[in-house]
C-alpha cells in the first residue's frame, strides 16, 4: 500500500468531521500539505458528500397512489368499520360487473399483445418489426381506451345520482395520467411515422403503452370499489396480471 493509499483510506473520516486514526493523524496532515492528488481526492469526497445530501425526495407517479388506494379498498379495513355497509344499487352493480369483466379482458389482451411485441423485438437480435404491427397494437389500445373512458363516464354519471361517487379527485388524477401518457404515445407515433425502424421510438411507444395499461389496471381496481361479490376476483386477477407484465 502506498502512502497515498494509506492517506486516502482515512479521507472519509475527515469528510465526516472525524479525526483519522491516531497513528495516522500526523501522516495524513503532512501528506495532504504536499500531495495535490490526495488533496484533490479529499475535495472530491467533500463535493460528493454535499451532492448526496442534496438528493432530495422524488415524487412518485400518480398511478402508484391509485393502485394503493384500490388495493386498500379491496382489502379488509384494519379497524372495524363504524358505519353500516353501503347498499349497492342493482343497476350500478350490473353495469360495474360488466365493466370490470370487460376491463379485465382488455388488460389481459393488451398485456399479452405488448409482451408479445416487446419480447419479439428482444429475441430477434435487433431485427426491426414492421411499423404496422406496432401501430396496430397502439390502435387497439386507443379503441380500448375509448371504451374505457365511455364506461368511466357512465359510471361517474351513475355515481353522481347515487351519492357514492367514484372519488372526483382520483378520477381527475386518472384523467390527467391518461392525458400525459397519451402525449407520450402520440410523440412516439410521430417519431415512428418519420422513422419506422427507430428502436428508441418503438421502445418509447411500448413503455407508454405499458404505463397506460398500468393506469387502466388501476381503473379496474377502483371500479371494484363500486361493486361487491365475486366480480372482485376478476379485477384482482387483472391487477395481478398487470403487475407481472
Amino acid at each position: 500500500m502506498t502512502i497515498c493509499d494509506e492517506v486516502q483510506s482515512q479521507l472519509s473520516l475527515l469528510v465526516d468531521g472525524q479525526q483519522p486514526e491516531r497513528a495516522a493523524q500526523a501522516l495524513v496532515r503532512s501528506h495532504l500539505e504536499t500531495c495535490a492528488s490526495c488533496r484533490g481526492a479529499l475535495q472530491d469526497l467533500e463535493r460528493l458528500r454535499r451532492a448526496a445530501a442534496s438528493l432530495g425526495p422524488m415524487t412518485p407517479p400518480d398511478h402508484v397512489w391509485l393502485e394503493v388506494a384500490g388495493q386498500i379498498r379491496l382489502s379488509p379495513s384494519p379497524a372495524p368499520a363504524e358505519t353500516a355497509p353501503r347498499r349497492e344499487s342493482p343497476r350500478r352493480a350490473a353495469l360495474a360487473q360488466w365493466i370490470g369483466l370487460a376491463a379485465a379482458l382488455v388488460i389481459v389482451t393488451l398485456g399479452y399483445y405488448a409482451i408479445q411485441r416487446v419480447s419479439g423485438g428482444e429475441t430477434t437480435g435487433g431485427n426491426v418489426q414492421p411499423a404496422g404491427t406496432v401501430e396496430a397494437v397502439a390502435e387497439e389500445l386507443n379503441q380500448a381506451t375509448e371504451h374505457y373512458e365511455k364506461a368511466v363516464a357512465e359510471l361517474e354519471a351513475l355515481a353522481k345520482s347515487d351519492a357514492t361517487a367514484l372519488d372526483p379527485a382520483i378520477a381527475a388524477t386518472l384523467k390527467q395520467n391518461i392525458q400525459t401518457i397519451d402525449v407520450a404515445i402520440a410523440e412516439s407515433r410521430t417519431a415512428l411515422s418519420k422513422n419506422p425502424g427507430s428502436e428508441p421510438a418503438r421502445a418509447s411507444l411500448f413503455e407508454a403503452l405499458r404505463r397506460k395499461v398500468g393506469v387502466l389496471q388501476a381503473t379496474v381496481t377502483l371500479m371494484n370499489e363500486m361493486r361487491k361479490g365475486n366480480q372482485a376476483g376478476a379485477a384482482e386477477a387483472a391487477a395481478a396480471f398487470g403487475k407481472k407484465s
Binding site: D5, L45, W65, V68, A79
Partner: protein
C-alpha cells in the same frame, strides 16, 4: 388504542392525530399520509432497489403501513416509523432477490477503483443526475450504506442496525462506495469531454 392515547390524540400531536384518522378510515386521511411521505420513501426505494422495482415497492410499503398502523404508538415520528418500514421492505427485497447483502458488498474487495488511488478527479460540481446514475452502478450493499448515511443522514450505528452489519463495516463500505462513485463520476466527466 388505549384511553390515554385517545386523550393524546385529541390533545393533538399531528402524527398521532393523522395515524388515528387513518385507523378510523377517515376519508382522505390515508391519502394525506401518502402525499406527505411518499416522496421521501420513493426516493429511498428508487435509490436502494432501482427505478424498475421502486414503484411496486412503494405500493407494498404503503400497503404494509396501512396494515400496521395500529402498531404505531407515537414513540417516534410517523416519518421515522415509515422510513424504517420502507428500508426494511427494500432490504428484504434486495436480500430475497440477490442472495445476501453481505455477499454483494464483498464484491468491492476485489475492485481496485473502490480504494481510490487510481481514480481521477471529479472536477467541479457533482451533477445530481450523474450521481443518481453512478449510484445505480454500486453493489446493492454498498449502495444501501451510502444512501442511508450520505443521502438520508443516518448515523453509522443506525446504518449498521438497519443492515445487520457492524459499525466498522458500515464505515469501510461507505468509504469504498464514495471512492467508487468518485471514480465513476470522473469517468463520466471524461467521456463527456469532446
Amino acid at each position: 388504542m388505549s384511553p390515554s392515547n385517545v386523550q393524546n390524540v385529541s390533545g393533538g400531536h399531528p402524527d398521532l392525530v393523522l395515524a388515528d384518522r387513518c385507523r378510523r378510515d377517515e376519508p382522505g386521511a390515508f391519502e394525506e399520509l401518502y402525499r406527505l411521505y411518499s416522496p421521501r420513501l420513493f426516493g429511498v426505494a428508487y435509490r436502494l432497489v432501482g427505478s424498475q422495482e421502486a414503484e411496486d415497492l412503494l405500493q407494498e410499503i404503503f400497503l404494509a403501513a396501512h396494515r400496521k398502523l395500529s402498531q404505531y404508538k407515537g414513540e417516534s415520528s410517523l416519518g421515522t416509523w415509515l422510513f424504517r418500514l420502507a428500508t426494511n421492505q427494500c432490504l428484504d427485497y434486495l436480500r430475497s432477490k440477490r442472495a445476501r447483502l453481505a455477499l454483494l458488498t464483498d464484491t468491492f474487495e476485489h475492485d481496485p477503483n473502490a480504494h481510490g488511488s487510481a481514480a481521477g478527479a471529479i472536477v467541479g460540481v457533482v451533477d445530481r443526475m450523474d450521481l443518481e446514475r453512478a449510484l445505480a452502478l454500486l453493489p446493492p450493499g454498498a449502495r444501501a450504506v451510502f444512501v442511508l448515511h450520505d443521502v438520508e443522514g443516518c448515523e453509522h450505528r443506525e446504518v449498521a442496525d438497519h443492515l445487520g452489519i457492524s459499525d466498522g463495516t458500515s464505515k469501510s463500505q461507505l468509504h469504498k462506495a464514495r471512492m467508487r462513485l468518485r471514480s465513476l463520476l470522473a469517468a463520466a466527466r471524461t467521456a463527456e469531454r469532446p
